[in-house]
């Protein structure tokens, strides 16, 4: 007994669902950057994929991959014995850098740290992160003048940290 009434109800429901999802996406995209500036961006730090992190932290995921970012991970660079503490150094020739993020794609939560720079801060930025055991990609993303720039390094970690 599928009456036309029931079918109509389906379509109305579907339209309603797609409309609400669209609205949610639109509001989250518009609201996030401001919320992120205010305090600790928990959305970005609990996200589980690199794309989600970038959307939450930078408000976009379109990347201009660029050699204006240079980036060193660990010493020696490729083979890291201790994943508990890996040195990361980010250098860039870009001007007006607003934000720098360090991500590890295989960590349970990829985002390791995010720097908000004022115009008085100069590169290089240096810090230490934890990386899981095995092969991972360490990614540095820089937002400058509304554009994202990315560089990544493949590393192999023998004794993983527990990030």
């Amino acid at each position: 007994m599928t009456s036309p009434y029931r079918l109509e109800r389906r379509t109305v429901l579907k339209q309603f669902i797609s409309a609400t999802t669209l609205a949610m996406v639109a509001t989250s995209g518009l609201l996030l950057p401001q919320r992120v500036l205010a305090h600790w961006p928990s959305d970005a730090f609990t996200a589980e994929t690199v794309e989600d992190v970038l959307l939450a932290l930078m408000g976009q995921a379109d990347i201009a991959e660029d050699n204006a970012v240079t980036f060193a991970v660990g010493k020696p660079t490729k083979l890291i014995t201790d994943g508990q503490s890996v040195t990361v150094e980010i250098t860039s020739s870009l001007a007006n850098i607003e934000r720098v993020a360090v991500l590890v794609d295989n960590n349970p939560n990829p985002l390791a740290m995010s720097f908000d720079l004022t115009s008085s801060v100069m590169m290089p930025l240096k810090s230490r992160i934890k990386i899981v055991e095995g092969e991972s990609k360490v990614i540095a993303v820089i937002r400058a003048e509304g554009k994202l720039y990315k560089t990544s390094r493949d590393v192999r970690v023998y004794a993983g940290g527990n990030p």
Partner: protein, 105 residues
């Protein structure tokens, strides 16, 4: 470990910039075991680190639990002079806080 119980901050004037290095003493635990179990009990890590020069905000670092134990940061501030006051404050996810200050030399 007695040498490492205090946060450390060094700021040195170089040609054209001030080199700042900061070492915070913090366990930075993620609560996960070595095998990346999903449990997050014992999650204890610094979330927010801020740096000022002469009370002017310079840098903000947001950290996740993937920041290494005893977080270390090195960066440069443009120009500067001897005697500038550099201040770093941090707060972790349990609300513990710390402040460390130094003068540029």
């Amino acid at each position: 470990m007695s040498m490492l119980e205090q946060d450390r901050l060094r700021a040195t004037l170089r040609v054209g910039h001030t080199a700042v290095r900061v070492l915070l003493i913090h366990p930075m635990t993620s609560g996960r075991s070595v095998n990346n179990s999903p449990a997050v009990s014992g999650l204890h890590f610094i979330q927010d680190i801020r740096c000022w020069r002469n009370d002017e905000p310079m840098l903000e670092v947001k950290c996740g639990s993937a920041t290494a134990e005893n977080p270390y940061f090195a960066f440069r501030l443009m120009e500067g002079e001897i005697g500038d006051k550099i201040k770093v404050r941090w707060v972790d996810n349990m609300g513990q806080k710390g402040v460390v200050e130094t003068l540029v030399n």
